[in-house]
Symmetry: C2
Subunit: 430 residues, 2 copies
Amino acid sequence: MVDIATRVYNHRWRIDPIVRSLLDTDFYKLLMCQSVYRNARDTQVTFSLINRTKAIRLADLIDEGELRAQLDYARGLRLTRGESTWLRGNTFYGKRQMFRSDFMEWFETFQLPPYHLEKRDGQYELTFEGAWPEVMMWEIPALAILMELRSRAVLGDMKRFELQVLYARAMTRVWEKIERLRKIEGLKIADFGTRRRHGFLWQDWCVQAMLEGLGEAFTGTSNCLIAMRRDLEAVGTNAHELPMVFAALAETEHELRQAPYKVLEAWHEEHEGNLRIILPDTYGTNGFLAHAPDWLAAWTGVRIDSGNPFEGAQRAIDWWRARGEDPRKKLIIFSDGLDVAQIEDLHAHFRGQVKVSFGWGTLLTNDFRKLVAEDALAPFSLVCKAVAANGRPTVKLSDNPEKATGPAEEIARYRRVFEVGAQAAMPVVV
Amino acid sequence: MVDIATRVYNHRWRIDPIVRSLLDTDFYKLLMCQSVYRNARDTQVTFSLINRTKAIRLADLIDEGELRAQLDYARGLRLTRGESTWLRGNTFYGKRQMFRSDFMEWFETFQLPPYHLEKRDGQYELTFEGAWPEVMMWEIPALAILMELRSRAVLGDMKRFELQVLYARAMTRVWEKIERLRKIEGLKIADFGTRRRHGFLWQDWCVQAMLEGLGEAFTGTSNCLIAMRRDLEAVGTNAHELPMVFAALAETEHELRQAPYKVLEAWHEEHEGNLRIILPDTYGTNGFLAHAPDWLAAWTGVRIDSGNPFEGAQRAIDWWRARGEDPRKKLIIFSDGLDVAQIEDLHAHFRGQVKVSFGWGTLLTNDFRKLVAEDALAPFSLVCKAVAANGRPTVKLSDNPEKATGPAEEIARYRRVFEVGAQAAMPVVV
């Protein structure tokens, strides 16, 4: 029996909104936003959406009106009372009241700020300018909207059973990955796939399949809305945007060199335990670890997000040993373009040496490779980054020169200041 | 939004009924039933359900109470007004009023007669006794109920996503078959998969997938209920039960030898065109064709349902030529345990020589091979046959000695009377 009211109601929607909640974002954005709100709320930043895969001409695929309608819809969102209650009342990483009252009061009235959209060379130039705590909240919804509009554009002409079989194939693929992961003893893995997901409902499906298929090995999702609805742990800590913005604000080379540590000082005061995870690659892991203050070696772990992950993890282990720390008590989180084979290899290699966990992203929530003609749903590398702070360009180097962002002369300056030597280039898939 | 009324209503069902309509049966049962009703309605017959795959111990898998509840539910069914309207008003094989008023009046008050159920050696002995037109209507619902209860028994312990992925895999498999079939130019294929289907909803899905995927190449379904609901052609002509019962009633060896032709005489008077399809294998195709009267050579086609289908079809072609008929104007329907590779081969081999069409059964609607542990959903050979008529045993020989049914001494007598020589044994999969 059709629920007529539901059907009539659904047909009144002008669009099928992609982002329907301010909590449909990564948990670490909220953690970072609180930190920024408390420590640097007046910093003016520009975020820009960049498609690193130029061959995918998003502006040809996606209708501008539809994109604007989705962005406008997201701008209309406010934190609901139930969402606020969940953030205020929940325990995150074992801690009650992770989000303080002053931040929650601000967030309860928050709306996403205006955006600027232009087409150029078959791509969209989508930028956001304003106060850092506001602008930064665009990152995940902007990416999720673009990604899902691209999926919809590709799927637009498919017939009903063709579509059902497409999803049947994709489900089978995810499940076969889960069946392989199930065999890994001691696995700990979380969903980090919000930003480049195929679509919201698909991410939600993948998360539930992980929950059923992996049980205790599945440690949670970075997506706050899914965590809330499915009663899961919301996970994540911090990202490159903090050192990138603070570095851009540095007045001297000394300040610049210290910026990545200064960011973590504030984090150290705010957070403990499993939230004390170093992301060392913003300006090269080698230099970061070599010059790191000793208190950082006492942190819980390291997240490896670029470069060769075996080398990156080994570097962290060696560093802990050199600083008198026992690596077996430390945690390494791998999160860069993972898929099952690499998860198996990394787990097998490092198990026993260090605690290992995985933040699985795009190839969990958007692996539709080869499932449609011309591989038109292949994942691609879309990012939304801070490109300027108080009028100065930001720079990210990472451990893979292919992932470096910023003006060329600034990249060169940063490479010099941070003493980044030769780096091996690796292809960026996602 | 949940439709609360639907949910409450659904939870009131004591069981989840498998057969919910008297039209959830094969079209040829209705055609044959009308013929029997008009020509032999007082004949007393016994039908018996036989599991030819002894390794599958149905009585260990399926709860007797559940089986009885399903059979009892089917006994409560009556033809609805809309179903009657569809039968009376529809055009079948280009003919209006295929079902005459006297038959329809009888069918409108029809209910399935009592059944007799016992357990023996891990199997169910399920028999039906009474007037032929009533008893014969049990064949398809009895098979469909047993098949679906077996599916449910195997799936009973599976978790939610495990189940969804199982169906995702099965859908993908069906779709891949359809994608292969789509490449066959001039293909004509129908669904004959009611009796040994995985389940009703699954058959309905397969039929709709065929419709979307094959378009004009998909010529219809043998299932009347699905044909009615999906606005498709209902297809099928006649089966072995007619010659089997008439043969059992023969008083002399001459009458026995003539019985298969006498059955078709009545059919000849009743039907034309594409309903004039010979099923020659009941007592061996060779003898049947050799002794067939000339008017049978003028019939539209032959259905090949046992033995080597290449040999069977070639035999029919040779026979038509010998009788002065042009095989290119004749139709051969293949319907014995088909899967895609054989459909491709048969089509490629006979295309141009004769019109070819396919009745695809179990491996369309129940191909879950290797999809669950221990291959517990592999198809198996369950049949429901007339075993006696007016107190005498029936016999079927077919072109494969593995498919012969009846008492051994009667099989021997029939083999002698019908001059059946050596036959090649072929494994019976479904």
